[in-house]
Amino acid sequence: MIFYLLRRIVYTIPIMIGVAFFCFLLVHISPGDPLVSILPPDASIELQKQLMKLYGFDRPWFEQFATWFWRALHGDLGTSIASGRPVAAEVMRAVGNTLMLACMATLIGFLFGGLFGFVAGYFRDSWVDRIASALSVLGVSVPHYWLGMVLVIIFSSWLMWLPATGAGPGGSGEWAWDWAHIQFMLLPAITMSVIPMGIIARTVRALVADILAQEFVVGLRAKGLTDLGIFMHVVKNAAPTALAVMGLQLGYLLGGSILVETVFSWPGTGLLLNSAIFQRDLPLLQGTILVLATFFVVLNLLVDVLQTTLDPRIQRS
């Protein structure tokens, strides 16, 4: 198993290089001059050349990639063209906010999805099961950015229970774990939790039904094991896979939060990406994507490693 884990880790290296190369290419597939957003329209050719040299756009692509990759490895993602600040610092601040939101959403999704799925799998083909199945189809079908708008309409506009946008009272400010701040997080987190909820419910339902149908459970029941005992048994056997799915979903939410963050003006990577795109700030775009993709790859690796450790039956090639 040690060898499997080592191989799995080694195998991640070329993937990461490929991911980095893809992020690097983003600037180059982009049409037009990368400096167009900061150059005044009447800039002289001289100034343009000077800036090209400053940002290194005049050298061959592989040299640019090598330099860029080397710097990225050392935590230097370049300078934002729009703000002039280091990309790494901007991204890291935003990633913290996104991570917080995504974790909260995954937690909500896992709790409710797990509950629905468990009940549905335990009472298979009952009305509970049918409702849970319907909910999980709705969960993966709903455009979550629209769901966010609907929640704002209901809870902010009509009921006026929760704030609609932002991440704290009085505009920007430091985050704190008090109700004044947490209430800002609820709506976006619930919105984002809908997709993992549906997927986790589906997974847990299938897992529970599978385990209950296995012969050894039938045997346990025949031996007179109580319902509680069987319940514990099912939980123990379903947990590794369910946790793995939850880990993967957290990764998807990290990358997929941009639309929801836009709806709620949540100051995370989504909002950052949005402004990078519209100010054509390509280093910022590149840096944000690279950081998010790295998170996703590392998270996948962790999930794999954890799952293999928890459940030695799994031997993936």
């Binding site: 191989r7 080694v10 090639s317």
Partner: protein, 361 residues
């Protein structure tokens, strides 16, 4: 009277007999297949890697018109040998001579060889394309070899009739609508559609019910008679092998242990492994009931086969010399045996006695 089967464009010349009936249809010399184990990163860097010696130097002949049965425990290399003969996998070493020509040589290109040698697999379901009708499956082979579609379909229906499946009812059906026995009849028809001379039957009846098995075996014997076929019949079932075979070859761990005429081999096995294998056969005769397991445990791992004679780890007659010297196939009176006991002067204590007994007889 032959119906709708024109042979001309398939190449009659290659079908003609070379060297008369005495020459073997198929001769296999030193056939070897080693599978690379999946190597880890470290192994690749160090340039090392283990191999599975699935088939490790096999020699045999199949005579024209005979049925050669191949028996042995699972993992002995029977099926790998079949796949090597079909060229479904490339041999690591060795040559196959078909009808006097080396397979793959300009005189006998692979494509032409493949028409003359066909195979019936064990799993009757997985060997038929679920999306093709029965007649399309049978007609596929001839079409590959240039028979026009309509003619190939006609041939397929005729063959269905011949294997005992009414064309009107079965030609337009899909494999999942047929029973296992019916599907295996289709597979036999499919193998015959290319008009082969040699048919390899790899556990072809093993998955069938006993009653169906007997019907299919009888069908195979009829077809052989009618079309002048030669069979290589692989089976783990010794009764079946004895029933259908003219000669039998016993394999152990990728090597040939013994070959001989079926009756002689079953009545008087020479190799200790054959004897052990036969004594594990259930018998109806109470006097011949098996008292103790003749073959204990599993065969050794083909990744690291034992040195010397491969059977010495389980052989009741093994002596020190058996783990040092590998026996070679010795021929005596149409029988071949690879055992030091039957090798005069091998150093095995039984060898002299056996030699004396042979002289006396």
């Amino acid at each position: 009277m032959s119906i709708g089967i024109s042979i001309e464009h398939i190449g009659v010349a290659a079908d003609s007999d070379r060297g008369g009936p005495a020459q073997p249809l198929l001769t296999v010399n030193g056939l070897v297949k080693h599978f690379d184990l999946k190597k880890g990163f470290v192994d690749t860097v160090m340039g090392r890697g283990k191999v599975v010696r699935a088939v490790d130097g096999v020699d045999f002949r199949i005579l024209k018109g005979e049925t050669l049965g191949v028996v042995g425990e699972s993992g002995c290399g029977k099926s790998t040998t079949a796949r090597l003969l079909m060229h479904l996998i490339d041999p690591s070493a060795g040559e196959i001579v078909f009808n006097g020509e080396t397979v793959g040589s300009p005189a006998l290109p692979l494509r032409e060889y493949r028409r003359q040698v066909q195979m019936v697999f064990q799993d009757s379901y997985s060997s038929l394309n679920p999306r093709l009708t029965i007649q399309d499956s049978i007609a596929f082979g001839p079409q590959v070899h240039g028979v026009p579609k309509q003619e190939a379909i006609t041939r397929a229906r005729n063959l269905l009739e011949r294997v005992g499946l009414e064309p009107r009812r079965f030609a337009g059906r899909y494999p999942h609508e047929l029973s296992g026995g019916q599907r295996q009849r289709v597979n036999i028809a499919r193998a015959l559609a290319c008009e082969p001379r040699l048919v390899i039957l790899d556990e072809a009846v093993s998955a069938l019910d006993k009653s169906v098995e007997a019907q299919v075996l009888n069908l195979l014997m009829d077809l052989k008679e009618e079309f002048g076929l030669t069979y290589l019949f692989i089976s783990h079932d010794l009764h079946v092998a004895r029933y259908i075979s003219d000669r039998v070859m016993v394999m152990y761990l990728g090597k040939v242990a013994e070959t001989g005429p079926a009756e002689a081999l079953f009545e008087q096995p020479l190799h200790p492994y054959t004897r052990a294998l036969l004594s594990s056969m259930p018998s109806m005769d109470p006097d011949r009931r098996t008292e103790e397991a003749a073959l204990a445990g599993d065969p050794p791992n083909p990744i690291d086969p034992p040195p010397g004679c491969r059977f010495h780890t389980r052989c009741p007659l093994a002596e020190a010399v058996c783990s040092q010297r590998a026996p070679s196939l010795k021929t005596r009176q149409r029988r071949e045996t690879a055992c030091l006991i039957h090798e005069p002067g091998s150093g095995h204590s039984h060898a002299a006695a056996v030699a004396a007994a042979v002289h006396a007889s």
